[in-house]
Structure formats: structure tokens, C-alpha cells
Subunit: 204 residues, 2 copies
Amino acid sequence: MTDTVTPHLITLDTAAQAQLFTDARTANTFTDEPVTDAQLHAIYDLAKYPPTAANTQPLRVLYTRPGETRNRLLTHLSEGNRAKTATAPVVAVLAADTDFHEFIPRIFPIRPEMRDGLAADAAAREGMARFNATLQIGYWLLAVRAAGLAAGPMAGFDAAAVDRDLFADSTWRSLLVVNLGKPGPDAWYPRLPRLDYDDIVRHA
Amino acid sequence: MTDTVTPHLITLDTAAQAQLFTDARTANTFTDEPVTDAQLHAIYDLAKYPPTAANTQPLRVLYTRPGETRNRLLTHLSEGNRAKTATAPVVAVLAADTDFHEFIPRIFPIRPEMRDGLAADAAAREGMARFNATLQIGYWLLAVRAAGLAAGPMAGFDAAAVDRDLFADSTWRSLLVVNLGKPGPDAWYPRLPRLDYDDIVRHA
């Protein structure tokens, strides 16, 4: 079986497939068009729904527009990521909250005592926070595309330095930095190859 | 600003929003309708596109239908997850491949030497594998919904035992177990509350 025989098995309409998956690209340049607070709310109003373990929702987001906090963030990025990040309309720092358990009585009322069990186990909490927040970043990146915006995710940054500098007063731990906006001129490189189904799947 | 004023800022059509985000639910029961190999290919043909760091694509998937491997998997699940997993048409074990770097010359040809740098740093490789495979699970769960199927993700399993039992001959490390199929009777519980925008976002 080849990859080209299967699209009819997708029930999502082809425009939506293109917008979220097949045509969307990681952007490296952005226009001056602002990203509004209302757009950031709308993105969350989609991204909040897909599942997390015990509904824990540990994802947190710091949105920066140009200014002092953005400038501090730039110093923690690898050299090659700085120029494009300086000019993006909005730059998001996606983080996991290791104290997500404080919300459990409100968001997982069927087992409120989970809060106290997790309060006593910082290692379990950190693992659960990082894993589920990362899943949520996957949902969030597709929600950004659903809002008609392009995302430019960057793993090239000093996470420990970001946490010390921007999250010193909190229990947030940075996972990914993502530029947001409308794609500008020459926004992307040619698409890189994807692995084949048979490279990554086993059946049993 | 409340959550209810923002949907018009989403350019994705409302049917697609519902199918992937707002109406879709985690399923706990499934009908007998089979999930075909062609559907599993089609899911990957969407899920493979959204971004990973340096295009590394470390996600791997073991698909099990009822049989011996499925029965072994069941023994590693928490008690409450076993009955529904026994009857799901397909159960996926989503994993990170800590030897993903072997593919780098093919999938990141602009920097093939990254393979050798990562070959010498198992800790960096494991962190990168787990983070990027988890992002890809986020994409994959929405791709399952794009195929008109329901997913039932479960964190309640013994990952070390699954790795010893099912991945002993490989460098795959299990991250999540997910039931797949068409939702059956009483497939889901009432929706649990989501955190508000102001609970999880800061602006700077």
C-alpha cells in the first residue's frame, strides 16, 4: 500500500486537512499584521478541548509582544533563532506547570483526592506535567493553524535560563518557544522528507 | 473577554472545529466495526506532517488487534483500563524511538552530521525522542479524529513492563496506550471542566 491511496478514508474535509496538516508549514518570517488578544483567546478556545490525563491540563503560555520581556527572551535563544523572533508579532513560551495539581478539585471533581497524592510526589508531578503539556502543545500548534496563523516552533533555547529569568516566581517550566503571525516573504524552506508508514509502524 | 466571543476568529470551518476539537470526545466503548489497515495508513498520512525538532519524527506505533500481543499488553494496564482495551478493534502503543537519529541523513539532509553528534549523547537523544514523539502524539490523536474514529488514550499502564515485554528487541519506549474505533453505547462521561484562559496565560 502506498501513501497516495488513502485520502478518501479521511472524513475531515480537504480544506481543513490542508489548513492543519498537509499544506501548513513552519514559518520563519512574518508580516507586520498584528496578532490580537482575541485571536489568542480563540486559539485557546479550541486547544483546551482535546484530552489530557485525568483532565489535568498542565499547559501554560506566556505571550510576549515586542518589549522588555521579549528582549530578555531573545538572549536565551540560540543565535540563529534571534532575528526572526525579534520581529514576530507574538512569541509564545509554552510551559508545563508542575503545580497543576492545585486545580484538580475543580477540573477533576470525580477524584479530588488526587491533588493530595500528587502534592506528596514532586517527581510524578513533573513527569505528568511535562508529558501532558507537550501533548497540549501538539493540539495548540494545530489550533494556531485553525486561526489562520502560522507557527514557528523552536527547540533551540536555554530552557533553564528562561525558567530562571521569566518564571522565577512560578512553577512553570519552559518546553518550547513559538513565533506566531501571518507568514511573510520566503517564510519557509522546501518541505523535508517524512518517514514512511513502514518505517514507524508495527502490527501485531 | 469571555470564551464565547471568539469563534469567528477561527478560519477553520465549524464542522472541522467540531470534528477535531469542540465536539470530539475520548471514547470508552467501541462498536464491532473494524478499523482497517488502510485507515491506519490514512491517519499517518496526516499525522506525519506537523513539525518536529530538526524533522526528527521519533514517534513509533505498535498497532494490536485482538490476539496474543494484545493479551500481553492487557496485563500491563491498570485494572480499570483492561475490559475496554480487550474489546477495542485496534489498540495502539505510541512510543518514542531513542535511536531516531539513524534516520537523520535521510530526513534532515541539510545537516546529516547531527546523526553522529546524537549518537554520542544518549541522554540528549532520549529527551529529544520523548518530547518530539509526545508532540506527534498530539497531532496523531487529532488525525484519528480526522479519520472519523474515536480515540481512548490511557496513561494508566506500566511503561517499563510494556517496554520489556513488547519492545525488548528495539529502542522504542512506550509513552501512551490508545484504543481506536467507532464509539459504542455510552461511550463517554459528561465533559469535565476546562481551565479558563486567564488561569493558564500571561501576557508581557
